[in-house]
């Protein structure tokens, strides 16, 4: 990338890609990012239409506006890609992420963790006398915040799904 394209501010974008669910399609998408030096902050992929054999990949990436434009164009060039949609530049949609958060502790810390879990509307999906596993769903920033709060309370493990995104209103991708 040239200096001309590097100077503008780095932006964070959520991009959804509808792809044919065929062998190696995820490697094509990921290979494009690594090969051209783009960032992946998170990536989510699953089949969304079994009959049509399509999967949806949702990628959170960062770059200058020019780089983001290139990412969209390069994704659009892949033969297995049906559509590319940028949820950040288009009318912002809903972004949600799920995380499983394991906290180990006893006494006051354990009670505080549970109390905060309730405030964040977590489900407790596993418990022992010394541990909880919280299931939390929300915007990535909400999950970041919860994880930070759990850190001094005995956080030992986090598993996050990455972002899923969809449009508001009647519009589809």
């Amino acid at each position: 990338m040239s200096a001309q394209l590097k100077s503008p501010a780095i932006e964070r974008h959520t991009i959804a890609v509808l792809v044919d669910n065929e062998a190696g399609v995820l490697a094509r998408v990921i290979g494009l990012f690594s090969g051209r030096g783009y960032n992946i902050e998170s990536l989510t992929v699953a089949e969304v239409d079994h009959a049509a054999r399509t999967s949806r990949v949702t990628i959170v990436t960062s770059g200058t506006p020019q780089v983001i434009e290139q990412i969209e164009a390069q994704l659009g060039r892949l033969v297995a890609v049906h559509r590319v949609h940028n949820w950040t530049t288009a009318a912002p949609g809903i972004e949600r992420e799920m995380a499983l958060v394991k906290v180990v502790g006893t006494g006051e810390k354990r009670v505080e963790a549970m109390r905060l879990g309730e405030i964040f509307r977590c489900h407790i999906v596993d418990t022992t006398l010394t541990s909880f596993v919280f299931e939390i769903t929300g915007a990535p920033s909400k999950i970041d915040q919860f994880v930070e709060l759990m850190r001094p309370l005995g956080l030992v493990d986090v598993s996050r799904t990455g972002v899923a995104a969809i449009a508001r209103g009647p519009e589809a991708m």
Partner: protein, 598 residues
């Protein structure tokens, strides 16, 4: 899966049953393929067996798979048809990777068929197994591993569709050996339509109208054209000529686009870029409108990007949307096939009775003529040493009235060929532009000569490059291909030496070949003809002898080993900061940032 497979391929009931190997041959024939380049091996034996038992496809046996791919590139570039390659698994596939990458960078349509170990062995580190689709994913436009024979014919037809439409490029179809033996229904090309792939070719007419409006108001316009015009077919070149004629604008081209516009036309400025002409680069720098047609603002063309064309509005026509705003931000993008867009530009220019600004153009041409007067391609000739530029000029003078095709290797000789050999037609110039692959030219010449058996095919080569794929001389001899390998032998990797002189204090680290073969004897060992010219006096006679010989020739043209390629935009400099000679080069200080650029 059988049921699903059949439903997806849309095979009519009663479709003919063929083995996978037979399907390959049948699909090639149905796609109009007459020549393939290849090398057999264990994992493609069934296909070679089917080939043996069929008629109508000529197989050219190369000596290395890289040679097969470059030959297919030469075939494709000189005909406008896809080049087809057949190689085995493992090393057969990995040897094809350089050619695939070359074709991807230069948008050459290729269909490369690779054998693979049997499906039940995939992933077992079997003999001659490699992850071909994994390795070739980043160097193909698309690729497939076909594990089900019911999918094979459909995949082959899709492969041709994807390789040849939109922005052309190489594709790989990897076929396990058991799939080649299995029988399944054959689907003909008409029954196949890809699920998602729909390249955009029609221009947005509003953008076209805006473009001609910008053109009509321009005071210092220039057309900057590239390989996209070649790929859009002969119509695009014809329409380009007409557009230049009606507008009167100057025109330059990238290395890849040479021949799309006749070099003999007065509107022609010569090639632009690092070793382009003074007039082309200064016109780009001072232009107020750049109309880019089928080129991609490559770093060899733009020079320092922050100093590139500071006063110009830019129109960018490209069939590939990802090229827009990639290196340079443009004011008006047009995503379309070049021939279709040019046709509409001409249509609206005429029907709207547009006129270029004649007075402004007149003074613009006066400026350009001032730059032309610099004669930036001039060089000091010698009575004792053959200057490489002189050798190309003589080669051009003695062949220009013939039906000639030129390929090149990569380096100084390639740039001298681009500067001093002139083309009036597209598809006559085959060179490795994007990847810069030493060793491209000799096998490419094989492919060109296969496609044009009666034409004069010359590889303008360097002695370093040509040794990378020299083994293909054996192919040329086997198929009676009278290719002419015209080696500008300066004993150095000349371009490396030139950069070491400019950037590394004249420390010529490993750029001199201390041992070279005797190319005349080497030619004879292959069963070809060897010729040598060592002095300017004997050059013409030897070139004429080379042309007269109807056999493959290695021509050892001993040139001045110290000659450098000028003019040149040094690394990190702008279009108007060209250096024209060694004297200027010595005075040039390349910045530290510039040194980091290649």
């Amino acid at each position: 899966m059988d049921k699903d497979g059949k439903a997806l391929t849309g095979a009519p009931t009663g479709a003919i049953e063929l083995s996978g190997a037979e399907m390959v041959i049948r699909a090639l024939k149905d796609q109009g393929v007459t020549h393939i380049f290849g090398y057999p091996g264990g994992a493609v034996l069934p296909i070679y067996d089917a080939l043996f038992q069929s008629e109508g496809i000529v197989h050219v046996l190369v000596r290395h798979e890289q040679g097969a791919v470059h030959a297919a590139e030469g075939y494709a570039r000189s005909t406008g048809k896809p080049g087809v390659v057949l190689v085995t698994s493992g090393p057969g596939a990995t040897n094809a990777v350089t050619g695939l990458t070359d074709a991807l960078m230069d948008s050459i349509p290729l269909v490369v068929l690779t054998g693979q170990v049997a499906t039940h062995l995939i992933g077992n580190d079997a003999f001659q197994e490699c992850d071909t689709v994994g390795i070739t994913r980043p160097c193909t436009k698309h690729n497939w591993l076909v594990k089900d024979v019911n999918e094979l014919s459909r995949t082959l037809h899709e492969a041709f569709q994807i390789a040849t439409t939109g922005r052309p490029g190489p594709v790989v179809v990897d076929i396990p050996k058991d799939v080649q033996f299995k029988k399944g229904p054959y689907v003909s090309p008409e029954a196949v339509r890809h699920r998602t792939y729909r390249p955009r070719t029609e221009p947005d007419l509003a953008a076209i109208v805006k473009a001609i409006d910008m053109m009509a108001h321009a005071k210092k316009p220039v057309f900057y054209t590239g390989g996209g015009i070649v790929n859009a077919g002969p119509d695009a070149s014809r329409l380009l000529r007409e557009l230049v004629e009606v507008t009167g604008f100057p025109i330059t081209s990238t290395l890849m686009g040479l021949g799309c516009f006749p070099a003999s036309d007065p509107h022609w400025l010569g090639m632009l870029g690092m070793h382009g002409t003074y007039e082309a680069n200064n016109a780009m720098h001072d232009a107020d409108l750049i109309v880019c047609l089928g080129a991609r603002f490559d770093d060899r063309v733009t020079g320092a990007i922050e100093k590139f064309a500071p006063h110009a509005k830019k129109i960018h026509l490209d069939i590939d949307a990802s090229q827009i705003n990639k290196n340079v931000r443009v004011d008006l993008p047009i995503v379309a096939d070049a021939a279709k867009a040019l046709k509409e530009m001409l249509h609206f220019w005429k029907t709207q009775k547009r006129k270029a600004d004649a007075a402004a153009l007149k003074s613009w041409w006066a400026e350009i003529d001032g730059w032309r007067a610099k004669k930036s391609l001039a060089f000091r000739n010698s009575k004792t040493l053959i200057k490489p530029q002189h050798a190309i000029q003589r080669l051009y003078a003695l062949t220009k009235d013939k039906d000639v095709y030129i390929t090149t290797e990569v380096g100084q000789h390639q740039m001298w060929a681009a500067q001093h050999f002139h083309f009036d037609k597209p598809n006559r110039w085959m060179t490795s532009g994007g990847l810069g692959t030493m060793g491209y030219g000799l096998p490419a010449a094989v492919g060109v000569q296969i496609a044009h058996p009666d034409s004069l095919v010359i590889d303008i080569a360097g002695e370093a490059s040509v040794q990378m794929t020299m083994q293909e001389m054996s192919t040329a001899v086997q198929y009676d291909l009278p290719i002419k390998i015209f080696i500008l032998n300066n004993e150095y990797m000349g371009m490396v030496r030139q950069w070491q002189q400019l950037l590394h204090g004249g420390r010529y680290s490993h750029s001199y070949s201390e041992a070279l073969p005797d190319f005349v004897k080497l030619a004879e060992a292959y069963g070809a003809v060897g010729l040598r010219a060592s002095t300017p006096d004997e050059l013409d006679a030897k070139i004429e002898e080379m042309i007269a010989v109807k056999r493959p020739v290695l021509f050892d043209c001993r040139v001045d080993p110290k000659e450098n390629c000028y003019p040149m935009i040094p690394s990190g400099a702008a279009h108007n900061e060209m250096i024209l000679s060694d004297a200027e080069e010595e005075a040039t200080q390349v910045s530290d940032e510039g040194k980091m650029l290649v």
